[in-house]
């Protein structure tokens, strides 16, 4: 099981029956396939609907995800315009958003939309999602490809939003973000707290109730 799948499987356990969920591009889109069978969620898509589903059969006119790629819809889906879509997003009507991250810091700040001089794709709907969703889960690999920490004291990349991250889930550990900073809740089997400290620039508390990361399979 690669890092991405470990993360996606663990994120799936964060979702509750009936949740309205918006998934960012990349890793987060893997989450639904790991949902427990008794958990049914409704996916919101920024371009204007509730009830996104995987494509089954031929693409149908206008049924595309926010990336313009054909997708399916659940029975009971509803379409609307972009103003309504972001009324839902900013207005607290999305229970959970799962987003990739470049950096998260102790204040719950997230940077995930821009690397100055390298990648300036635009923030799309990410700033609104992070500002508005009830719960913001960042799903990212613990370190960069070059081994640099992503859980930092203070983000040094341009922020997506301030103080909005609820949880960070990596292939090594699960943290919540409290008013006092990161709290380590779970570690993956075989990973020591020391190892996590080495790979984490940010300080973190250790939950009294620390557990092994459950991996549903």
């Amino acid at each position: 099981m690669d890092a991405k799948e470990i993360i996606a499987r663990r994120v799936a356990l964060e979702l509750n029956e009936g949740d309205i969920v918006n998934l960012g591009i990349g890793l987060p889109t893997m989450v639904p396939r790991f949902l427990p069978p008794d958990i049914h969620i409704t996916l919101q898509s920024e371009n204007g609907f509730l009830g996104m589903a995987p494509l089954e059969g031929e693409p149908l006119p206008g049924i595309v995800n926010a990336g313009g790629t054909p997708c399916g819809i659940q029975i009971g889906a509803a379409f609307f315009d972009s103003a309504m879509s972001f009324a839902l997003i900013r207005g607290g009507h999305i229970d959970v958003t799962v987003l990739g991250g470049l950096q998260v810091d102790e204040a719950g700040n997230l940077a995930n939309w821009m690397v100055p001089g390298k990648m300036v794709p635009g923030m799309g709907g990410a700033m609104d999602l992070v500002s508005g969703a009830k719960k913001v889960i960042v799903a990212m690999e613990h370190c960069t490809k070059d081994g640099e920490a992503r859980l930092l004291r203070l983000c040094n990349l341009p922020l997506t939003a301030r103080s909005r991250v609820s949880k960070v889930i990596t292939e090594l550990a699960v943290f919540k973000v409290s008013a006092a900073g990161f709290v380590l809740l779970e570690t993956v089997s075989g990973v020591s707290i020391e190892m996590i400290r080495e790979r984490t620039e940010a300080g973190f508390a250790i939950s009294d109730d620390i557990k092994p990361m459950p991996l549903y399979s």
Binding site: G68, G125, T160
Partner: protein, 218 residues
């Protein structure tokens, strides 16, 4: 006023330097025939306002590629490398706006509002140059309205009075930009007689639509 027009009439509705709001998410819901007519018309120095610049050959992309735009106001450009190249080369001014803020600025421009307060972007680069206000203990950015000279819309169906129906996720920005431009042109797959669309199913009232053109090869 004659709303239904021929394709030959579309090009002359635009002139150099106009601002154009366009519907569409990655090209889905963008009026591709009008984009082609704009390319043929060779108008230049356009300001394009919409969700994204799609890809070089899809949606609004060809108008970036052709060099006819001097400015874009969009929420992302990452899917169109040409936009990035022209921006870096100094040939294209790119204003990036969070998606929810962008659509709300357009709605404000079309609704007679002087602006709105949003939490989106507080504490980020999006707050540069903007007034911050605290309401009920929370900090917000004051965002101001956005309008354009022309809005170009894609709908599935129009009746002869201009009432529009969109299909699925192709709705997106279209009903909102219909409020916010001096001239509103809709490209539609088909035109039906007035009365054929149930008044409860109209998504954009005909009163907002100035011109209708039927998609080629439709």
């Amino acid at each position: 006023m004659k709303k239904i027009v021929e394709w030959a009439e579309i090009g002359p509705m635009f002139s150099d330097g106009v601002s154009i709001m366009f519907g569409g998410f990655m090209g889905v819901g963008t009026p591709l025939g009008i984009v082609s007519a704009l390319i043929e018309s060779k108008v230049r120095n356009l300001t394009l306002i919409g969700n994204d610049t799609a890809a070089p050959t899809t949606g609004i992309g060809p108008l970036i590629d052709s060099g006819q735009a001097s400015k874009v106001i969009v929420s992302h450009i990452g899917t169109n490398p040409v936009t990035g190249k022209k921006m870096i080369a100094g040939e294209l001014d790119v204003e990036l706006v969070p998606q929810g803020t962008l659509i709300e600025r357009i709605r404000a421009g079309g609704s007679g509002l002087g602006g709105f307060l949003t939490p989106t972007g507080v504490g980020t680069v999006a707050e540069e140059g903007k007034q911050k206000l605290t309401v009920q203990g929370r900090e917000y950015l004051l965002e101001i309205p956005l309008r354009a000279d022309v809005a170009i819309i894609k709908a599935k169906k129009a009746d002869t009075a201009g009432n529009l129906v969109y299909e699925r996720a192709a709705r997106n920005f279209n009903p909102v930009i219909a409020l916010a431009a001096d001239l509103v042109i809709a490209e539609v797959d088909e035109i039906v007689d007035v009365g054929e669309i149930d008044p409860d199913h109209v998504m954009t009232p005909g009163a907002l639509i100035d011109k209708i053109v039927v998609r080629m090869g439709g």
